[in-house]
């Protein structure tokens, strides 16, 4: 039970996600909104591995795991065929940040451009966690990963987090939103709202990862909240091209408070922390926080 949300569970317990996985929580909440009449397409990633094992399958709806790069394309095919056959169902894609920002980016762009009636949910844990914590296009600046090791010649990940929601919104689809399972009702509401629009919908969910980010498994919700409170992550909606409903911050915090809680940022010097603070300040300015 999650207070205030429907009791029916469509993403069940018994899967093999790490303790404290906030991605599993995000999917569970999203499924409550999507409901029984849903077909789920999964890209390769943590979710596909931990939720589909024989005798441990967590799904109460049809699930299709395709390849790393093609879930939005498969969803496109399903959507068009179902329409022709006169059948109705919600078609949802769950894909990680690697599948969305990197290898499946072309397929996603095609799906958005053609405007398939699909809800694409990116569950973003900011690296390839399933294959051993390698950086992705969505990994934040200066973070440690196994392919962005910090040391004498490197500060960690040299690139900035790819702004996927903005890139997706530039495709002029009717609904884009960002969310975070630390705010379950907001996440639920956004998935529900997405279902009201005809065409391609995109929801980008930040899912703190205890294994990859380096924090205790009971801290996921708190870390997620800190991401919002420091303005490193903003929950907002883009409806028909207009930014609406930016989640306000009650008491703005410094990024250091968020960074110091995670092993992936433990190597940072003052200089990098200041640079990351600038990113947060810029976010706050853009979204008027």
């Amino acid at each position: 039970m999650i207070a205030g949300l429907p009791g029916e569970e469509l993403f069940l317990q018994g899967h093999t996600a790490c303790a404290g996985c906030s991605q599993a929580l995000a999917v569970r909440i999203a499924m409550k909104a999507l409901g029984r009449n849903t077909i789920v397409c999964l890209a390769t990633g943590c979710l596909e591995i931990y939720s589909t094992q024989y005798r441990r399958c967590a799904w109460k709806v049809p699930v299709i795991h395709m390849l790393f790069e093609n879930a939005p394309a498969v969803a496109s095919g399903i959507e068009v065929a179902m329409k022709k056959l006169g059948k109705k169902a919600n078609i949802a894609v769950f894909a990680g940040d690697g599948a969305t920002a990197d290898i499946g980016f072309g397929a996603l762009s095609g799906m958005l451009e053609r405007g398939h009636n699909v809800i694409y949910i990116c569950i973003d844990n900011e690296a390839y966690m399933n294959t051993g914590i390698q950086r992705s296009g969505s990994t934040p600046y200066a973070a440690y990963t196994t392919t962005s090791p910090p040391g004498k010649v490197s500060i960690g990940n040299k690139t900035f987090k790819k702004d996927l929601p903005s890139i997706v919104a530039a495709h002029r689809i009717p609904y884009v939103a960002t969310a975070n399972p630390s705010y379950p009702k907001d996440l639920y509401k956004k998935v529900k709202k997405a279902m009201d629009f005809d065409g391609a919908k995109y929801i980008h969910i930040l899912t703190p990862c205890p294994t990859g980010w380096g924090f205790e498994s009971n801290e996921s919700i708190e870390i997620g909240r800190l991401a919002n409170e420091t303005a490193l992550w903003i929950n907002y909606e883009v409806v028909n091209g207009e930014i609406t409903d930016v989640m306000k911050i009650k008491e703005k915090k410094l990024v250091e408070e968020y960074l110091r809680r995670q092993a992936r940022f433990r190597h940072l010097s003052k200089k990098e922390i200041e640079e990351i603070q600038k990113i947060a300040d810029e976010n706050a300015r853009i979204f008027g926080l």
Binding site: T44, H65, L67, F68, E69, G98, A101, D102, I103, F105, Y128, T131, G132, Q134, R135, G137, T146, T147, S148, P149, G151, V153, S154
Partner: protein, 341 residues
Amino acid sequence: MTRMELVQGNEAVVKAAINAGCRFYAGYPITPSSEIMHLMAKEMPRVGGVFIQMEDEITSIAAAIGASMAGKIAMTATSGPGFSLMQENIGYAAMAEIPVVIVDVMRVGPSTGIPTAPSQGDVMQARYGSHGDYPIIVLSPSDVLDSYVLTAKAFYLAEKYRTPVILLTDEIIGHMRESVNLPNIERVEKNMPILGEGRKLHYTGLANENGFAIYEPEKYERLIKRLFNKIECAKDVISYKIENPDAKTMIFAYGSPYRTAKAVLKIAKNVGIFKAETVFPFPERALKKASKDVEKIIVPEMNVGKIVNEVKRVVGDSCQVVSVTKLAQLVDPQAILKVIE
């Protein structure tokens, strides 16, 4: 001086690559090859080389090809699904004659398969995976030391013959740790004009003569024959080892089943081994010669039986050829012993 060290197969690939002069690595994470990438991310900056993580395997091999044209000794590593994505670019490298080393740490397929289980299912794909007629060199190590030595050889051959070279290892070899004494490796030199040195170079994936497109069937045939001759007539491409050459029963092994063959040798008498380190071009002449007085050839493989057909093609009716296969795990010595009896 001998210096023993405990090295993992994937690590040995990186050590050999760096010692051979590889200074460019582009890749995309995939089990069970990721250790190569992790170590490259650490080591490349130390030796003044370049490590980049790409957005997928198509771009990984393409970046390595670009770096090779620009004068770097370049490689990429992957496993089954990524290897499939690389195929078109492998054909490009063969046609445009660009040296590049591709490591495929084989896992169970098809599709996503079992990412953590070993296989030799990609062996024919390594030879024929890209479309069209092209030659290619495929090397297959069977242990950690082999991984080191054959990686170095892969770079040497790639640069010498301006060709893509594929190193086929598997999950067992890639993840196995062994105590080894790694020999010195000679550094490989770039053997082609490189971009940015004043020449007006022209590369293309179109059938070409000196880099310019051709459309005449005769010219195309001449080109393809030259590409094949370049690899197949070379004296230093094919390497193999024969143990107990006088035995009446021979095990033809490549990759990790060679270790099974070694285990069999300890138990059974009158058994020999033909260990193919170069799988393609297939060591046809050597096998023909070695099998002259042999009555039975056993071919253990971690797939449904693929190279066994090459062996049959070469030896014809001169002896009996038996396929011993095991899927998703190493071939058991008992399975080979049963066939011997």
